[in-house]
Amino acid sequence: MALRLAVSAVDARYGAVRALNGASIEVNAGETVVLLGTNGNGKSTLMKCLMGVVRPVSGTIALEIDGQTHDLTRLATEEIVGLGVALVPEGRRLFPKLTVEENLMLGAYRKSARARIGENLAFAYEAFPVLIERRRQLAGTMSGGQQQMLAIARALMTSPRLLLIDEPSVGLSPLLVAQTISKIEELKQKFGLTVLMAEQNFHQAVRIADRGYIIVHGEIAFEGRTVAELQSNEIVKQLYLGGDRH
């Protein structure tokens, strides 16, 4: 299973505001890579660039799948989804006035995904049994934890190979954050996914990560090739581990 995502020197702007400044990251098949950073440092912008929702002003985003390289900066969002990239957006962004099942069906809107709709729906319900009990309920009326599960399940309906998860911990209680992170690991193993996760919750994220990047003001400030390297890094100590005290 050959898959490789290479983001190099990407600049992105919202009007005059620079959100990404020469950001470069790499994700290889089977890895779980975490993108660490506090609010407003460009994590979500990078995710949106990968999905073609925000267009970088310069830099390249190459996705190599089975020997073929695709330039994601030139593809429409639905084509990127068609290649096997799925995003679980920050704040979940479900369709609140549609039912749980309709939300899942929308995940499989693409022709390529429609062929496997029954199979994927069965997988989604198997992975998240709570969703089958609530399949006729409006998505907006579920609890935050259930909505996060549905958001992940919806992304799985596109039969992804590369799963992007933007801040799964937002708005969840610590217990639910831990459950969600464990679930991501479980699904990764089950479906053979490659995962790129943006997170602020360092301790939870490194539980499942193989390695990671730290993003500060739109720049990759540090690349940790292992979790240990991340944990011993000065920026991490400062931001997450109360490092300035010693």
Binding site: T77, E78, A86, P89, L94, F95, K97, L98, Y109
Partner: protein
């Protein structure tokens, strides 16, 4: 309710509706009923058409008058140029409307929310200006049109127009109902709920919006076409009257946008009231009534007649259980 039973029920209802309109045309003497009825049916088509993009996808469109007016002038042009029969006028108007919807959609549907709405206001102004300066179809002074002799079995032209409008209602509603229940409808509802999330789920949002805009435009133009023969006169100010935009929108909102029945109920309620008021009080009161009703519904029943009915239904069930 089973799926097949529902379809059967719908088509039996539709057939009964057309049959009733036909029977009325053959038996009722008073022509005024048909003059007023035609307008009500025309507004059902317009509101239904508006709802495909405005209701399902949540893209509020103020361009209804542009499409309607272009429909009127497509008919005028075909009549003057090649003396085309009515059904050709309507058919060509639908094609022109679809093409226009696609074109306008390509230009404006990349805009979201309020920006799209503002862009659609401009379309009416552009279309009206173009027609005003086109001498062949009468320019600013308008053009008188002569009706061809009426076709058997009808004894007056207006009765024939009434039956044609009834058939157009069935086509429009069937189309809206199909859209609502298909994958297209599900995609449009996702766009209304959260367009970025829809895009990220792989829903081809621009394509779906373009299809919705083309369907909506085709129905609006088709609704305009018989209007030329109805009035036997066409001028830019009345053909592109902003009233059509506001009415189609208000009727959909008052009826409820989530289901095809909403615009139908809204159009029947509003257009009938307007027709009655025109006869009993004055035609100026029309617009006032529209405004007052819209305010009342926005305050008391924001999800329209459908929402109101659903609430009553739930309330009644709780009382009985």
């Amino acid at each position: 309710m089973g799926g097949v039973g529902r379809h059967l029920g719908f088509w039996i209802g539709a057939a009964a509706f057309v049959a009733l309109a036909f029977a009325m045309a053959l038996t009722v003497r008073n022509e005024y009923a048909f003059f007023a009825g035609f307008v009500v049916l025309q507004f059902i088509v317009l509101a239904t058409a508006w709802n495909i993009l405005g209701g399902y996808a949540g893209y509020v469109n103020f361009g209804t008058s542009a499409f309607f007016g272009i429909g009127v002038y497509t008919a005028v042009f075909l009549l003057k140029a090649v003396a085309a029969p009515l059904w050709i006028q309507i058919g060509v108007a639908a094609l022109v409307g679809a093409a226009l919807g696609l074109g306008v959609g390509l230009l404006t549907l990349r805009l979201r929310g309020i920006f799209f709405s503002i862009a659609t206001v401009a379309i009416t102004i552009i279309a009206e200006t173009l027609i005003t300066n086109w001498k062949f179809v009468g320019g600013a002074t308008g053009v008188q049109l002569l009706r061809p002799p009426v076709t058997e079995p009808f004894d007056s032209y207006i009765k024939m127009l009434f039956v044609i409008a009834a058939v157009m209602v069935v086509i429009a509603v069937a189309l809206a109902r199909y859209v609502q229940n298909s994958g297209l409808g599900r995609g449009l509802r996702a766009i209304r709920d959260d367009e970025i999330a829809a895009e990220c789920s792989g829903v081809p949002t621009l394509n779906l919006k373009l299809v919705a805009c083309a369907l909506s435009g085709a129905l609006m133009c088709a609704a305009g076409a018989p209007s030329a023969m109805y009035l036997q006169f066409a001028d830019p100010v009345s053909a592109f009257n902003l009233n059509y935009s506001v009415s189609a929108l208000a009727m959909s909102l008052i009826g409820g946008t989530s289901h095809w029945i909403g615009p139908v109920l809204g159009a029947i309620l509003l257009a009938t009231t307007q027709q009655l008021l025109t006869v009993t009080i004055s035609s100026e009161v029309n617009v006032l009534v529209l405004g007052v009703m819209l305010v009342l519904f926005v305050v008391a029943a924001p999800e329209g007649i459908i929402g109101l009915a659903r609430r009553l239904w739930r309330w009644a069930r709780r009382r009985t259980s």
